[in-house]
């Protein structure tokens, strides 16, 4: 077992790596320059949430869900503040969490005709991608509902 300070240092190190990787990757996706720092910070925080939940509670899927939930929520808020589509913040944000490697490993197992392993890692990958999509969709729907309520509660201005 690691002691707390060692673990904190490890998490901090991963956050720095994650920030740098996401910032550079969003440059590859041609993000608008002003959106890169906030989306890289969201990426790092989201990944850390996943990491902490996974490490401390052993719940991998829950980690993915909560991490993505935070990234999507931050993206919706940033989208309102900076007047850009939420997608501009969601894509770079979820890049470190997205199960690309699982997908690759599944296919590699298939290529090597290790079907049992392919089935298990394929199912896991599908569930991860599904739960991340669910988190994004949940935040998006909530944002729409809130937007609808705010619009309704405002008295109609002179038209």
């Amino acid at each position: 077992m690691m002691d707390a300070s060692e673990l904190a240092l490890l998490i901090l190190r991963d956050m720095v790596f994650c920030f740098a990787a996401a910032a550079l990757y969003s440059t590859l996706m041609r993000s608008p320059v002003s959106s890169i720092p906030p989306s890289a910070v969201t990426a790092a925080v989201g990944y850390t949430i996943y990491d902490v939940v996974y490490r401390n509670f052993g719940q991998e899927l829950l980690g993915y869900f909560l991490g993505t939930l935070l990234i999507a929520a931050a993206a919706e808020i940033l989208a309102r503040i900076m007047r850009m589509p939420a997608t501009v913040f969601i894509f770079p944000g979820i890049i470190p969490l997205v199960p690309g490697i699982g997908l690759y490993q599944t296919m590699l197992c298939l290529v090597r005709s290790e079907y049992e392993q392919a089935a298990s890692s394929g199912t896991k990958t599908l569930f991860i991608a599904g739960i991340m999509a669910l988190a994004i969709a949940a935040v998006n729907t909530t944002a729409r509902i809130i937007k609808g309520i705010l619009k309704k509660s405002k008295p109609l201005k002179s038209k």
Partner: protein, 288 residues
């Protein structure tokens, strides 16, 4: 009940009206195409088109957006009865993630809907956005730059996914070469599938070559697996997979299935490229 004359085409002759309608048609179609081309979600493309049609005075219009094309019917209603339908179809050949283009398209559409920009201005903005990027003088420098950025990004990703510093350096070098190859081959209009296959093979080649050299030098700190996983990160369709599921969830079943097919094929191609090289390496007596 909506009557066109309530909108900003008051007092114009029927020729002007026809011109106006075809401008709205082009604005709506272009914005839908641009959203999909730059990696936007299908529901976003349809929503954008619907808003533009509504703001332009054609709220009864219908649109179907798919990753491979947009179908749009602009319905012109007069005194509550539908008089005329203008239809446009456009094929989408290339899709990539270009968040700047997405953002610009979105803001152009928003300005048109809110009335900040008129139809002629908006059409001009969208036409400029839909022009292919110039491939001349600065092209080479740009692909070098994006190669460098990809390499640095891979470096940090490899470290994040528990690779050693040496793994990260080798993966970054491989990623740099693959990125250069990608921009070289995108000019030759090569299929995405081929690019993934080639990319996977090149990265695996880098990994086994580095491994061989390290073993000759009596050094065992290199992990082939980590190098490959780090190097292929920009090629992997993880984001596309999440988007495919999202599309399916929002009811865009055709788009979702189509994107899924693309994801699976890309992943198979990458794994095939890597697998071929690794198999060859093992046959020649290497250890993975």
């Amino acid at each position: 009940m909506i009557i066109i004359d309530e909108y900003n085409i008051d007092g114009k002759g029927s020729a002007d009206r026809g011109e106006y309608a075809s401008r709205i048609l082009e604005i709506a179609l272009l914005s839908g195409i641009l959203v999909l081309e730059s990696g936007g979600e299908t529901y976003r493309a349809e929503e954008t088109v619907n808003r533009i049609c509504g703001a332009g005075g054609f709220p009864e219009s219908e649109v179907i957006a798919q990753p491979t094309g947009v179908f749009l019917s602009l319905v012109r209603c007069d005194a509550g009865a539908c008089r005329e339908t203008l239809t446009a179809v456009e094929r989408i050949k290339k899709r990539s993630i270009d968040l700047l283009k997405l953002e610009r398209t979105n803001s152009a559409a928003r300005k048109f809907v809110s009335g900040e920009a008129d139809d002629i201005e908006t059409l001009e903005t969208l036409r400029i956005l839909s022009r292919p990027p110039d491939k001349s003088a600065s092209g080479k420098l740009r692909s070098l730059r994006s190669g460098g950025i990809a390499a640095l990004s891979i470096f940090f990703f490899t470290l994040l996914y528990s690779g050693s510093a040496l793994d990260a350096v080798i993966a970054a070098a491989a990623g740099f070469v693959v990125q250069l190859l990608a921009s070289l081959l995108s000019r030759a209009d090569i299929y995405n599938f081929m690019l993934s296959l080639l990319g996977g093979a090149v990265i695996a080649l880098f990994a086994v070559a580095a491994d061989t050299i390290c073993l000759r030098l009596g050094f065992t700190g290199l992990n082939i697996d980590r190098v490959i996983v780090g190097g292929i990160i920009p090629l992997l369709p993880g984001l596309a997979m999440t988007n495919a599921i999202r599309d399916t969830m929002t009811g865009d079943l055709v788009s979702g299935t189509a994107r899924f097919a693309e994801v699976l094929l890309t992943a198979v191609a990458i794994a095939g490229g890597v697998g071929a090289v690794l198999t060859l390496y093992i046959m020649l007596g290497g250890k993975v």
